[in-house]
Point group: C2
Chain length 337, copies 2
């Protein structure tokens, strides 16, 4: 069973919810977890919950990086921060993959500092899943969007590499043998979006192991046209946050409707299957977290507001990615280029 190093101090509800999530995993699965952070705080949180002590190790890290800290400064000034120690444990082989719900920028920088890039890879990508409609039987309900913020602008080579990495991740994690890969663009034709995207389109049409379905426009992001959507970090970040904002808004709408009166509650009951579909959209941050791809090791970034269940899912995704050989799969596809 894989060992997963978990940054116990990262996230809006750390360390309580992180410890609770890890504790639940120790009862449910055989995954071994190393909780990294302030030993005393972690232990006192562990003391309040049920867990299997033989599957949870506590590893002390005396510093922690806050959610709002400037990542470069934080990583420079806090070499013993929990997220850095978490990544170091994986780099040294003491754990197989890392999980954090903390500061995203700091997590990316910690990986860049302590992990090696896979051969040929120039830049890492943060990949995030989100729910959308499906178009064919067996299609995963979640699409993978990358990059969502490790980069700002990208060259064609980087976009092609993101396609390869996202494709390999989707193949292994969602078990779709040939995930459809789309390039986010402002039109469907192959001459759209400027030089870089035109070149990326041309090259993606010929990459072995990438099932390229062409350009994806904004409205197609929520349809099933593609399983893996490739874009530069700037646009990916805006799109992901917009989707999250809309999910939150719908969730508030359903919540306030439910509180307003019995008529609304009745309405909600009656509409429940439709609302379940909306709710699944609002709930998707619980599905597992976002892998940072491009390195010899994996870090799964859970959403900052993750509670125990979401942390548990991120740990499971990390273990699955290790067991199912996501990194070897990416390495293999890169060799075929």
């Amino acid at each position: 069973m894989p060992t997963i190093a978990v940054d116990a101090m990262g996230g809006d509800h750390a360390p309580e919810e992180v410890v609770k999530g890890a504790a639940a995993i120790s009862l449910e699965t055989q995954i071994e977890v190393v909780l990294v952070g302030d030993e005393k705080q972690i232990q006192s949180n562990l003391d309040r919950v049920q867990y299997r002590p033989e599957r949870i190790e506590v590893y002390h890290a005396e510093q922690a990086i806050g959610m709002a800290e400037e990542p470069h400064d934080a990583v420079r000034n806090k070499p013993r921060a929990s997220v850095i120690t978490t990544v170091e444990l994986v780099a040294r082989g003491q754990a197989d993959a890392a999980v954090t719900a903390g500061n995203t920028g700091a997590a990316v920088l910690a990986c860049a500092r302590h992990f090696r890039f896979l051969p040929g890879i120039r830049r890492a990508a943060l990949a995030s899943v989100y729910p959308r409609q499906t178009e064919y039987p067996g299609q995963d309900q979640l699409a993978l969007l990358l990059d969502v913020g490790a980069t700002i602008r990208c060259e064609a080579t980087e976009l092609v590499q993101f396609a390869i990495m996202g494709s390999a991740y989707a193949r292994r994690i969602s078990k779709v043998p040939s995930p459809r890969v789309g390039l986010l663009n402002m039109g469907s034709e192959d001459n759209k979006g400027g030089e870089i995207l035109v070149e990326a389109y041309r090259r993606l049409s010929h990459v072995p192991g990438v099932n390229f379905v062409g350009n994806i426009e904004g409205h197609e992001l929520i349809r099933g046209k593609a399983d893996v959507i490739v874009t530069e970090g700037f646009t990916g970040n805006v799109v992901l946050k917009l989707l999250e904002g809309i999910a939150d808004s719908l969730s508030e709408l359903a919540g306030s409707a439910a509180r307003e009166s019995w008529r609304y509650r009745l309405g909600l009951r009656v509409l429940e299957s439709g609302l379940d579909r909306l709710r699944s959209l609002t709930d998707y941050t619980a599905y597992g977290g976002a892998p940072i791809l491009g390195f010899e090791h994996l870090l799964i970034k859970a959403h900052g507001r993750s509670e125990a269940r979401a942390i548990g899912n991120a740990i499971k995704v990390a273990a699955k990615a290790v067991r199912d050989g996501v990194v070897p799969e990416i390495r293999q596809t890169l060799k075929g280029l």
Copy 2:
């Protein structure tokens, strides 16, 4: 009363719905409309509806550009296309502003060819309204996003000019004395998004007449933080199409729920105020259309799928923009730089 030149052959439902929209306007308002396109088709459509003949002129154009045609080729090969003639009438002073629901790229190219840029303006922007939550009393329910596709990438100077143009448009059209202007970015801090956005942020903080509120992240697009959101055409296009796609999806969801069974219909009745809010989102394409800003004249681009009511609204917006001096307002703000 202003005279508005309307491309009768542009849009998914042209010429029928365009003619119907213009006919309704001739009964409702004192706006004069010039319908440009195939004379026979326009007249036979006019013959089927009520209208005031003294307020509608038909101007023959023998060619038409289809929605799916490649804009550069189409504009080059069809010099007598209805959209080009529509723009020419405005350029020659025979009409005060133009409206089309046709091919967006062709409309932008027609303007670039026949209108002059305002002094100092380097590139035109297509601006689109969309509904979002409001945060202060009297705030317009619609925000203005630009550019949504006239450009791909932009320099800082262009983004600053978009802010000036969008701000002037919002001041005149939505009557908010000091619309809040935000820069779409991947973080709230002024050092985010790369060199161009950092420079745009710095310069926007000092532009007279622009009430700059800083960076807007993806999730804030649907909140009331800003009234005018500035971005390059690539990201603006993706965001706008994504918002439209989500609106369509919600609309389908409500529609299919209503058809499925009496229980759903009951549920919908009970939830009606909540659903009205969703519906307003799905219906926003009817609000008026997207101005192309940066030229000495205005063209209002109505959505391709506009029916009569949306065409009528676009004509009204065009007339209002002329009456309220949107172009002089932009020119004035540019002088103050």
